[in-house]
């Protein structure tokens, strides 16, 4: 029995997203492994709920955090997408949004916070600094990309990214959640062993955790 797993977002056409092939591969994999009618449908319902109520741990270290605040205010209003609830405790958060440069002194703290979060958990790396070190790449005290410390689900480039880019990245994360297998999949995942790198990153389905890179995202191109 094939379960239709197609990551739709109501406000944006499917074809307008980049990285569709990556999500389709995930859906294919799921279908190959097989899913029962009941389990598959329950998954879709649960994932619909999960993807529309993402609670993020606020982890603003510098400039990007101010843009995140703008997201919370009335003009950009992230409540429309269901992730306006920010948590200050990792125990209550679904995802960690890393906003700003991660330095050597901060790196163990970030890892510790990530470890304290309950599964299933997601990481969004916002801004040039978190992706590669950005303008501080050559510094003696800056981590060149947080994917060296924790596995990243979505990268949102920019310095800082525009609010629209934030949304694009967040919608990509929602789409990713929508194709996941929840029952018997991510809800059972408990082993979160120490340092996970880009190569070692573990995916709920046993595959390496793949990365959605938005560096060529349409929104950004239009702005340039």
């Amino acid at each position: 029995m094939e379960v239709k797993k197609r990551a739709e977002i109501r406000s944006m056409q499917y074809d307008e997203f980049r990285n569709n092939d990556y999500l389709e591969r995930m859906a294919d994999q799921l279908n190959r492994d097989g899913a029962g009618v009941i389990v598959g449908s329950a998954d879709e319902l649960i994932n619909w709920g999960r993807s529309n109520s993402l609670w993020s741990l606020t982890f603003g270290t510098s400039c990007c955090a101010i843009e995140f605040m703008a997201l919370g205010a009335a003009r950009y209003d992230m409540a429309r997408f269901g992730f306006e609830v920010t948590r200050n405790s990792p125990r209550q958060a679904d995802m960690i949004m890393v906003l700003g440069t991660i330095t050597y002194r901060m790196a163990p703290v970030l890892k510790r916070l990530y470890d304290q979060m309950a599964e299933p958990k997601y990481v969004v790396a916002v801004g040039g600094c978190t992706i590669s070190g950005g303008p501080f790449r050559k510094s003696y005290h800056v981590v060149n990309g947080i994917d060296k410390i924790i596995p990243v689900d979505v990268f949102i480039p920019g310095c800082p990214p525009r609010p629209e880019a934030f949304y694009y990245g967040m919608m990509q994360l929602q789409r990713k959640i929508k194709v996941e297998r929840f029952l018997g999949g991510v809800n059972r995942k408990e082993d979160d062993k120490a340092p996970v790198t880009r190569e070692q990153g573990s995916h709920p389905d046993g595959e390496p955790r793949q990365l959605v890179n938005l560096s060529t995202c349409q929104l950004n191109k239009e702005e340039e």
Binding site: E67, M69, A73, T101, R162
Partner: protein, 532 residues
């Protein structure tokens, strides 16, 4: 405007304290404000420091240069360089000397706290020394432990140095850890706070969680390249920070700026100040539990961001000032939109005061809480709105006018109470004062060039140059030493926030821990600017 290099007085290390003391208590012109201590590595000449002093009564400035003559063997100690501490003359020296120690390894005799400031306690070497190996400290993922003791060095009469341990937090202290991941510390600040019941006994700020080593990076960047990093120091003073660096380089290189660019820079600086103060209002109120005013503040702030974006292309990081002027000419709609915005802001500012300023809860939590005296403000170097709320008129725009500030009429907002409420009101009143400045300029922007052509590679003459501007939260300074190359030999920024964080301990002692966040909010610091 012409400016020569800074006038530097060279002093021997053993005479530093006496000379500094003489200047500090001079009858005519007491140098009671220590702007900054800039650690230096002069290579063969040795390690040392520059002391930037200012007299709050006359505005006169002095620079002292001290070289710990022998790189290794000063005061007969085989391992370390020592300088005498001046922290008994200026309170701010205590944390500034820790910074110099952290970056250069110069120990200060008489400073009771010689811990590292920005780097981990197990960090090896001193990164701003010229011979520092950039690969010597790989990423260490071990959780960090903080020592509860610190070293103090004293100089014996025979010239040798004696070390002893001081206790930061003893066994009887109940220490609460706040940060670094905390939404109300305005960045990744960490405060170890010891409390007695509900009262704060001591605050020990732990910094460096966003230390990016900008000053070291500057040494391998050409002058136009160094500009890129200033916006990312205090991103709510992006224009002013960059303005200061551009001014410093322009003055050193003798580049004249078109009048149009001066007007544009001044207007942009003031727009940025309004932007920052609106954000200050939003955050302070949200920290104290009010959500609606947050939306008010951001509503108006978005209008400024729109205006800036049209001209500069950026919302937060604008990269607008360049050496010789500004990046691009004003957008055709700029003048109209700015005037509309100011009209709008004047019509809504009453709502701000209605909902928060006159609120009973807000008053009870702000009035009379966290008092900073004028003497302490000066001694701690707490500039900006914080100092002005304590009655210290420290506005760089008035005291050392730059750009168009000498030609516009505006009031320097000062108050005398020095409490949280005064700090809040100073900033709220400054919003209106900034509107007033912009209104005087916006219709008179002269036609002409917005930028003069400069060479791609700029070489500055040898010497020390410094400028300062009034950023959104205090005096931002640029201290530059050039050895005639296309790269700066040393480019140091006076952080506006470092003295403010240092103020926390003085202001909060004896206060309730529940007021800590409100006091921190009104001091208004931005952490990336502190850590650099």
């Amino acid at each position: 405007m012409t400016m020569s290099a800074d006038n530097i007085i060279l002093i021997k290390p053993e005479e530093l304290y006496d000379e500094a003391s003489r200047l500090r208590y001079d009858a005519k012109e007491p140098m009671d404000y220590l702007r900054d201590i800039v650690g230096m590595d002069w290579g063969e000449e040795g390690l040392g420091a520059l002391y930037y002093l200012e007299s709050t009564s006359t505005g006169a400035r002095r620079v002292l240069k001290v070289v710990a003559a022998d790189r290794k063997n000063a005061f007969g100690c085989a391992e370390h360089s020592f300088l005498p501490s001046v922290c008994s003359l200026w309170k701010t020296a205590r944390i500034k000397e820790r910074e110099v120690f952290d970056f250069f390894g110069i120990r200060f005799t008489g400073n009771p706290d010689m811990r590292r400031l920005f780097l981990r306690e197990d960090w090896k070497g001193y990164p701003l020394r010229k011979d520092y190996d950039m690969d010597s400290n790989p990423l260490n993922m071990d959780n960090e432990t903080n020592a509860d003791v610190t070293e103090e060095y004293t100089l014996r009469p025979d010239g040798t140095v004696e070390g002893r341990e001081n206790v930061v937090f003893g066994k009887e202290d109940f220490v609460v850890n706040i940060g670094p991941q905390h939404p109300s510390t305005h960045g990744v600040l960490r405060m170890r706070t010891s409390i007695d019941g509900e009262n704060i006994r001591r605050i020990d700020p732990i910094l460096g969680y966003i230390h990016r080593g900008i000053e070291k990076m500057n040494e391998s960047l050409t002058y136009p390249q160094t500009l890129a990093l200033t916006d990312r120091l205090d991103y709510l003073s992006a224009h002013q920070n960059r303005h200061a660096l551009c001014m410093c380089i322009e003055q050193a290189a003798g580049i004249g700026i078109p009048e149009r660019a001066q007007y544009i820079r001044t207007i942009m600086d003031e727009l940025q100040r309004i932007d920052s103060h609106l954000l200050f209002y939003s955050c302070l109120v949200m920290d104290m539990g009010g959500l609606t005013p947050f939306f008010y503040g951001f509503r108006e702030r978005e209008m400024i961001l729109d205006i800036m974006e049209e001209t500069t292309g950026g919302r937060l990081i604008q990269n607008y000032n360049v050496i010789g002027g500004v990046q691009a000419d004003l957008h055709p709609d700029f003048r109209r939109k700015v005037k509309e915005f100011i009209k709008h802001l004047r019509s809504v500012i009453k709502d701000y005061h209605d909902i928060f300023t006159d609120n009973v809860i807000a008053r009870r939590r702000l009035v009379g809480v966290g008092v900073l005296s004028r003497e302490d403000a000066i001694s701690l170097g707490a500039t900006g709105g914080t100092g002005r709320a304590s009655g210290w008129s420290n506005d760089v725009r008035k005291r050392h006018p730059y750009a168009m500030y000498g030609k516009v009429d505006f009031r320097e907002i000062t108050r005398t109470e020095g409490d949280s409420f005064a700090r809040y009101m100073v900033r709220m009143d400054e919003i209106m004062e900034s509107c007033h400045i912009i209104e005087q300029l916006i219709d008179n922007i002269p036609e002409g060039e917005f930028r003069v052509k400069t060479k791609a590679i700029i070489k500055l003459p040898e010497g020390n140059f410094s400028t300062s501007v009034e950023s959104s939260r205090g005096e931002f300074g640029v201290m530059l030493e050039s050895h005639g190359d296309k790269y700066p030999y040393r480019l140091h920024y006076r952080s506006t926030g470092l003295p403010l964080v240092d103020t926390m301990d003085t202001v909060c002692r004896g206060q309730k821990i529940a007021d800590l966040i409100a006091i921190g909010g009104t001091l208004d610091f931005v952490i990336p600017d502190i850590d650099r």
